[in-house]
């Protein structure tokens, strides 16, 4: 029996030697971009930003805590600084279609200027128009036109009156119009006197009255035409006066924007509109309104305002925007309303930009999870990217849930690179379930959650610490503290050969170490400050672990650390709660009897076991049958259970323990309770790596320490986990002193030998295991089960009476 040797201290913890650093503290180190080990992600970002084709937006994939947002933003900001600021955008009134505000594009910085110019124009118009129409000259010309009309009318009526007079008739104005009557001595003839006139005279009068009636009707028919002509003349005069008052003001603006045809078009339309509505602007008073919005149909000077949506006057380079609250409206913009007397009112000045407007021509960084968490935000973002334009539509409009009067502003062309940030699972889910995703996010930037640990990277990491400390205004770290941080970051990476890339955890550690350094009046953060920060962080969240630990020590939870038992073994499970994870020793027990080859996983039967755990148990059956029962059926019924476990069990890291417990029962050999074991096993009995190895070892160690280390205690771990060991110093020290042991095992045989002290046994040339070996005992037991099963079958069915297994 070749026993496995326990690991030496050097294998249990890979130190970072501070003496290899040639700096005294991080003060001596230059800043570094916090993207160590993210070369692939940076290359992807570089590619994604550089390629100018539709759909080449980016998805930065990586776990939480690596501060992708900061890294991406800094990367983009550097790239964006070299670019030109994009054009400004504004909305103006659409005089042709008022509910569809017009979008105007102006060079960067000129939208604000244009707004100022239009505000000044409004102010000028407000004064110039009434003044122009209050002038004596204007009134004189209006009077002239009115009198001309009046003269024309009066002349026609006077001529008719004169003609009537010549015939002894008078043209009289009645309450409803005009009438003709014979006159005598300056007064209209009395009816009685009229009747006394000769018949011929009456006939003459009536004939002449009838003729003049016709002429009068002709004159009256012409009056509306004269009146219309008069009105048109006044309108023409108004236009002339208005144009004189307004034209030169607008011409000034025209000259300023003559290089921008759309602006000139707008100014032409504005001028036409002003001239058409001069009548309404002639008063110094604006139409009554609410918060400046006209409530009547009458036009207001407000319609000539400019609503600047994007003002890049102070933007240096291309914009890089991160939106922390990607609501639908925050992305695509919105049209605000105001309520008045129960009605909702709006106009183009209430159109508000979204983040897509502000990032247009640059970069937009969004957290994918937040986008998906906001109703319709993802749909809105996709629609804008697919259409390459930002169209502001309220959700109410889109889904027709409200029918209030609203606006449909002209869409603004969109040219933006969107960078979504998210973890890997989200990325794969989006890719799998949204067919548009692949079309829109063609570039994936994968961020590593850990980086290689080596001499070069240790130094880079030290510079990273220096950078973070300076950025956070923290005390510098001396080199011993740097070394301790690096060691801890390897522990966080759960790998002695790796360092975590989770900048968030790293930054938190630096902040807390700085706090304790200040508490200890250290000018620099020392190793002890880092130690204290790590220890106290654990202590702050150590309540549950302590309670479990206490229950074990009080034998409420039964975990033996001494003696030996058949079918019972100490396994190790890891509990992860929030930002804390710790190990809990668990007793796994096994029972076996004659059966039909089934191994009952009681965790699974009670619906506490997860799928991976069940898979591990099933492997055990396969292993037993393949190794011990090649020529006969596996005829046992075994059950496995995690004793005193009342919650879900997942993972296969206890499958070695379960197999060992089962072999112990079948072989009838005791397992040393001084040991605990972790690892998964395959069908060939090979022990495979598991996660959380450090916590598992420390969990059992803590129980042993509390009960007293005897020098016999220890943990069996998969040999493949050796590179992951970054154990607590107390464990390392105990191991160095021979008071606690960590054995790396590669096979179930190695594990059984350590656990029982018996030889596992290899088959000899005859295919038999050595007598007394564990495997021999197991095989014998299973053979006996098979025989019993055969015998039992023969007795109950009579089949196979002559056959012998």
């Amino acid at each position: 029996m070749a026993m496995v040797k326990p690991l030496g201290p050097a294998s249990l913890y890979r130190r970072c030697d501070p003496d290899k650093f040639d700096f005294a503290s991080t003060e001596d180190l230059e800043d570094i971009e916090p993207v160590i080990g993210q070369e692939r992600a940076m290359e992807a970002l570089d590619f994604g930003i550089g390629i100018h084709h539709g759909g080449y937006n980016l998805f930065a994939v990586g776990p939480f805590g690596i501060d992708k947002q900061m890294v991406v933003r800094r990367f983009l900001e550097v790239r964006a600084a070299g670019g030109d600021p994009p054009n400004d955008w504004c909305y103006v009134h659409n005089f042709a279609v008022p509910d569809r505000p017009r979008a105007l594009e102006l060079p960067a910085g000129r939208a604000r200027e244009f707004r100022r110019d239009m505000e000044q124009l409004i102010e000028d118009l407000r004064n110039a128009i009434p003044v122009a129409f209050e002038s004596g000259e204007y009134h004189a010309r209006v009077r002239e036109i009115e009198e001309s009309y009046k003269d024309t009318r009066e002349k026609a009526l006077t001529e008719l009156a004169a003609e009537a007079d010549a015939h002894g008739l008078a043209l009289v104005r009645t309450p409803g119009g005009f009438a003709l009557a014979p006159v005598k001595d300056g007064e209209i003839l009395d009816p009685e006197e009229y009747e006394k006139l000769p018949e011929a005279e009456r006939q003459r009068i009536e004939r002449e009255v009838a003729e003049l009636h016709d002429k009068l009707a002709t004159v009256l028919h012409q009056m509306p035409k004269w009146q219309r002509e008069s009105r048109n003349s006044i309108k023409a005069l108004d236009r002339e006066v208005g144009l004189y008052a307004v034209g030169h003001l607008i011409d000034e603006i025209r000259r300023k924007y003559e290089d921008l045809p759309p602006v000139l078009d707008y100014l032409d339309a504005a001028q036409t509109d002003v001239i058409e509505h001069l009548q309404e602007f002639r008063s110094h008073e604006e139409p009554a309104g609410l918060f400046g919005i006209a409530l009547s149909e009458k036009p207001s000077f407000r319609r000539y305002q400019v609503n600047v949506m994007v003002d890049n006057s102070e933007t240096a380079g291309m914009p890089v925007i991160y939106e922390d609250t990607p609501l639908y409206q925050n992305l695509v913009g919105r049209v605000d309303h105001m309520t008045h007397m129960g009605a909702l009112v709006t106009d183009f000045t209430l159109v508000k930009p979204g983040v897509l407007h502000r990032a247009n021509g640059g970069y937009l960084v969004l957290d994918a999870r937040k986008v998906l968490g906001q109703p319709y935000a993802w749909e809105g973002l996709k629609r804008a990217l697919l259409a390459r334009e930002v169209r502001i539509q309220s959700l109410g409009q889109i889904f027709s849930v409200i029918s209030t009067v609203s606006l449909d502003p002209e869409p603004i062309p969109l040219d933006v690179k969107v960078v979504l940030l998210g973890e890997r699972l989200l990325y794969y889910l989006m890719r799998a379930y949204d067919p548009d995703f692949s079309d829109l996010f063609k570039v994936t930037a994968e961020f590593e959650h850990e980086i290689d640990r080596g001499a070069d990277n240790d130094l880079l990491y030290a510079r990273l610490l220096a950078t973070l400390a300076r950025r956070e205004s923290l005390r510098p770290l001396d080199r011993a503290a740097v070394a301790r941080v690096i060691e801890h970051c390897a522990r966080l990476a759960e790998d002695a050969e790796k360092l975590t890339a989770r900048l968030q955890d790293l930054t938190d550690l630096l902040r807390e170490a700085d706090y304790w350094a200040r508490d200890s009046s250290h000018e620099r953060v020392a190793r002890e400050d880092v130690e204290k920060a790590i220890a106290l962080r654990i202590r702050r969240t150590d309540g549950l672990r302590k309670r479990i630990h206490e229950n074990i020590l009080r034998d409420i939870v039964m975990i033996d650390t001494d003696g030996a038992r058949i079918g019972e073994i100490n396994a190790l499970s890891v509990i992860e709660l929030g930002d804390q994870s710790f190990a809990q020793p668990v007793r796994v027990t096994a029972n076996a009897r004659l059966g039909e080859g089934e191994i009952v996983d009681i965790e699974r039967e009670s619906e506490l076991g997860g799928a991976i755990h069940s898979k591990g148990v099933m492997i055990l059956g396969s292993y037993l049958a393949a190794r011990y029962c090649l020529d006969r059926p596996l005829s046992l019924s075994a059950s496995l259970v995690f004793e005193q476990s009342y919650g879900p069990v997942e993972g296969d890291s206890a499958s070695v323990a379960e197999l060992c417990a089962l072999l112990s029962v079948l072989a009838g050999v005791e397992i040393r309770q001084t040991l605990a074991i972790t690892g998964s096993v395959n069908q060939h009995g090979e022990v495979q790596a598991i996660g959380g190895v450090n916590e598992k070892i420390e969990g059992f160690f803590d129980v042993c320490v509390s009960r007293e280390l005897t020098g016999k205690q220890g943990v069996l771990i998969p040999a493949a986990n050796i590179p992951h060991l970054m154990l607590r110093q107390t464990v390392v020290n105990a191991a160095a002193q021979g008071r606690f042991h960590i054995w790396p095992v590669r096979s179930i045989d190695e594990a059984m030998e350590l656990l029982t002290g018996f030889e596992a046994g290899e088959r000899n040339a005859d295919g038999a295991f050595p007598d007394g070996s564990i495997n021999h005992r197991v095989e014998a037991c299973l053979r006996e089960f098979a025989d019993l099963r055969h015998e039992y079958g023969r007795l109950t069915t009579g089949i196979g009476e002559d056959a012998k297994p």
Binding site: V172, G176, F178, A179, P191, Y194, V209
Partner: protein
């Protein structure tokens, strides 16, 4: 000498005849009544010509708005005139109420008799009566006809009165001189700011002229008014005074028996005068 502070005009009568200018005349009359703090009486005459017209067998009315003809009947005409009178009364009431003027309104169908009766109870008659005839009588004829029937002071206005109109007075030393000055003073003084007052004096000789000027100066001083006093040749007409005065659209106050007024009524120059004429009785 009459007390210069005494208000000459306390009761005003305005003649309304259903002409298109009625609204303008009402506005002018209420403005004057407000300024002079006088009572205002409206007098609407139901034109007897129209009632006769409606009685004629062939009487037709051509609508102003549709140019179509329809028959006229006395009863319908009476109703139409009453409606018209009611409308003018409402307009009158609104205008007077807005100006804060004490008012009354009367309708009558006998213009001349009523005018004679009513005007004796009033200090000032305001009229621009052009009647319903399309071929209206001339202003000179209107003045003559009106003065023949009324005994009070008469205000003939061609249009609206400019609130800042200058007041001009023509004096000739007649017995009405002080009354003429009183009306002019009341018009000039009863304003937010005293209006410019110009006194034209025409006399047969230098001595009489100087005497008149002295008397006018004394009267004006007694009334606390500043005025510009100008000499006009004896045979000067009203048009000469208007052109010599300062400011547009003046109100010219003149005595009923001033020679210039008599000359004016005989010629057609009154038709072209273009200013408000206040003839003091």
């Amino acid at each position: 000498m009459r007390n210069p502070d005494a208000e000459v005009i306390r009761r005003i009568l305005v003649m309304l005849a259903g002409s298109p200018r009625d609204a303008q005349i009402i506005e002018t009359a209420t403005g004057i009544a407000q300024r002079l703090r006088a009572e205002l009486a409206g007098f609407f005459v139901e034109d007897p010509d129209l009632m006769r017209l409606a009685g004629l067998p062939f009487a037709r009315e051509i609508s102003l708005f549709s140019a179509t003809a329809r028959g006229l009947e006395p009863i319908a005409m009476r109703r139409a005139l009453r409606r018209e009178a009611d409308a003018i009364r409402r307009l009158f009431e609104q205008s007077a109420a807005k100006a804060g003027v004490s008012w009354s309104f009367e309708i009558n169908d006998d213009r001349q008799t009523a005018l004679l009766t009513v005007s004796t109870e009033r200090d000032l008659l305001i009229t621009a009566d052009t009647g319903r005839r399309l071929r209206a009588e001339s202003p000179a004829r209107l003045v003559r006809r009106t003065l023949a029937h009324v005994s009070c002071t008469v205000w003939f206005t061609p249009g609206t009165v400019n609130p800042a109109h200058p007041v001009m007075v023509m004096l000739d030393g007649s017995t009405r001189m002080h009354r003429v000055l009183g009306v002019a003073a009341q018009l000039a003084r009863n304003n937010a700011r005293p209006l410019p007052l110009t006194v034209f004096v025409s006399a047969a000789d230098e001595r009489q002229g100087e005497a008149l000027i002295g008397e006018a100066q004394a009267w004006l001083a007694g009334a606390g008014l500043d005025a510009q006093i100008l000499r006009l040749p004896e045979d000067s007409d009203i048009a000469a005074a208007v052109s010599a005065g300062a400011g547009p659209e003046p109100v010219l106050v003149v005595g009923r028996d001033h020679p210039a007024l008599r000359a004016l009524q005989r010629t057609d120059s009154m038709d072209r005068l273009g200013c408000t004429l206040v003839i003091v009785s």
